[in-house]
Symmetry: C2
């Protein structure tokens, strides 16, 4: 069984922007350090990070800057899958050279209805071109967003041909059957669920952890489920984090995460998103804060 | 009414690759020159060009190299819409500085179910940041592929606020009702249909022309429909190009276009595609050539 570079909880770290929409490295580093303090590692450049809204150069600069600020690259699982093969290779190579723990890789996501052979060829090209045994890939299965799914056969083919490189997956399908199927077929595969609503279930099935948007705002409670999934309290703890998830996802996810960080850290500049996303409307902002307040939500330690 | 930088026929020019999958500029320039000789202008970096499979740097280098080889930038309508705002700005600015006739712009295509406000904000940012009155944008409406459609209200808002910049659209929905609706609401908008099967219909409705994949292989006949759409022969000519289109689209489009160019130019190296696309299987290749031969198809003047 391959050593696990990551287990437990990761957050697709939301990316703060300055007024000119350039990445705000200081705020980002502060948020990364807070997440680490809550036992949450760093899936930077995920969907909730607006990763695909950042150029390859911006992503390399952010990674370098975070490392320069003292954040351990082993805690980072950057998203490096781009639409263009050459972009994916460049960004992935840079991440591996910087010593990241692993990369979370979207398939090329412009063309739809592509064949498994084509997706396989894409990953094979990236792996061969990067050509580094330190490359550890987590497949990013998010059919609703990428529209390019990883089927069970394709996953098996990648594991078979690149067993030391293709070591895990983030499953954002939201389908517990898919977690079960993957873990039945490939019990040593490092399976992360894409929502904490399935964390207890995923651990019970033999999964490795959870990479979830709402870990940006509720990391300690989610990690607590991971740490205690075998205890008698597990289902009650799971119910608690599922409730928070349900409340937050009643609002547009990415601007809501930013609004919650802005609100609880008393730092209103956190609210900005890059187009094509839009920030919450004032009624949505009020509704979100009222809704989380009603369930006693807080973000301890987030204030500067 | 805005002057028309483009009318008639454009081809999303297929991109040939070398054995290492780098762009093959010599073959590309040769194909561009053949297309121009057939009254077909150059929508480089479209969907059928595998444009999104090329990095921003690769696209800038290709553009520069084609211009260096003597191809008039005014004949080029490069695809410049990327997932990341900063990539779209960089590539679009470069294209405008090089003097292209216009750009064909996908919306940011990673996030799905984004709001019209978000798509509007994305285009507004690009237009303001490029900040050049020579920028002429054709919106690229391809809901089946981008999954991010341009609705009639959004189009109207962009035309109203940027009347000298947002001047046209390529409509790859395949829906003649959408052509009619746009031309009824915005009669001065430069509407190109995305398949020659709708060329006569689009011209009859007041459209400007056609930007079609199969223009890579059948440009003279398609241009002939454009040039003669008001003649008595128009419907018969339309039937001829529609038949060719129907036959070719019975096979995977992009590798089929490359196979046809390889076959008729007797240049087998044309066959390569970048992942996630795959080339035709041998039975598909035989089937395609047999099918086009059966309808008397040829590519006059394509041989070296």
């Amino acid at each position: 069984m391959t050593e696990k570079p990551f287990s437990g909880l990761l957050s697709p770290v939301v990316t703060p922007f300055k007024a000119d929409l350039s990445p705000d490295i200081d705020r980002l580093a502060r948020h990364c350090n807070w997440l680490l303090s809550q036992n949450c590692q760093l899936a930077i450049f995920g969907t909730n990070s607006e990763g695909t809204s950042l150029s390859v150069e911006e992503r390399m600069e952010i990674m370098d800057a975070l490392i320069d600020k003292g954040i351990d690259p082993k805690t980072m699982m950057p998203g490096t899958g781009c639409a263009a093969l050459t972009d994916t290779v460049k960004l992935t190579r840079h991440a591996v050279e910087k010593g990241v723990g692993g990369t979370l890789m979207l398939p090329p996501f412009y063309y739809k209805n592509v064949s498994d052979d084509g997706i396989y060829a894409s990953f094979a090209e990236v792996i061969e071109r990067v050509g580094d045994t330190n490359l550890k890939i987590y497949l990013y299965h998010f059919p609703a967003m990428s529209q390019v799914p990883f089927g069970i056969d394709l996953i098996g083919r990648l594991i078979r041909d690149y067993p030391d490189t293709v070591i895990g997956i983030k499953d954002s399908s939201g389908d517990p059957e898919n977690l079960a199927n993957m873990l039945r077929e490939y019990p040593d595969f490092h399976v992360f669920c894409g929502t904490e609503a399935l964390l207890f279930e995923n651990m019970r099935l033999g999964g490795t952890g959870c990479i979830s948007a709402t870990a940006n705002v509720n990391p300690a409670a989610i990690h607590n489920v991971y740490a205690n999934w075998q205890s008698d309290e597990a289902e009650a703890l799971q119910a608690g984090i599922s409730e928070t998830r349900t409340v937050v996802q009643g609002f547009p996810m990415i601007p809501s995460l930013k609004k919650l960080i802005a609100h609880y850290s008393e730092d209103p500049d956190w609210h900005r998103v890059r187009p094509p996303l839009v920030k919450l409307t004032p009624p949505q902002e009020t509704g979100l804060i009222d809704a989380v307040t009603a369930i006693g939500f807080d973000m301890p330690g987030i204030r500067k």
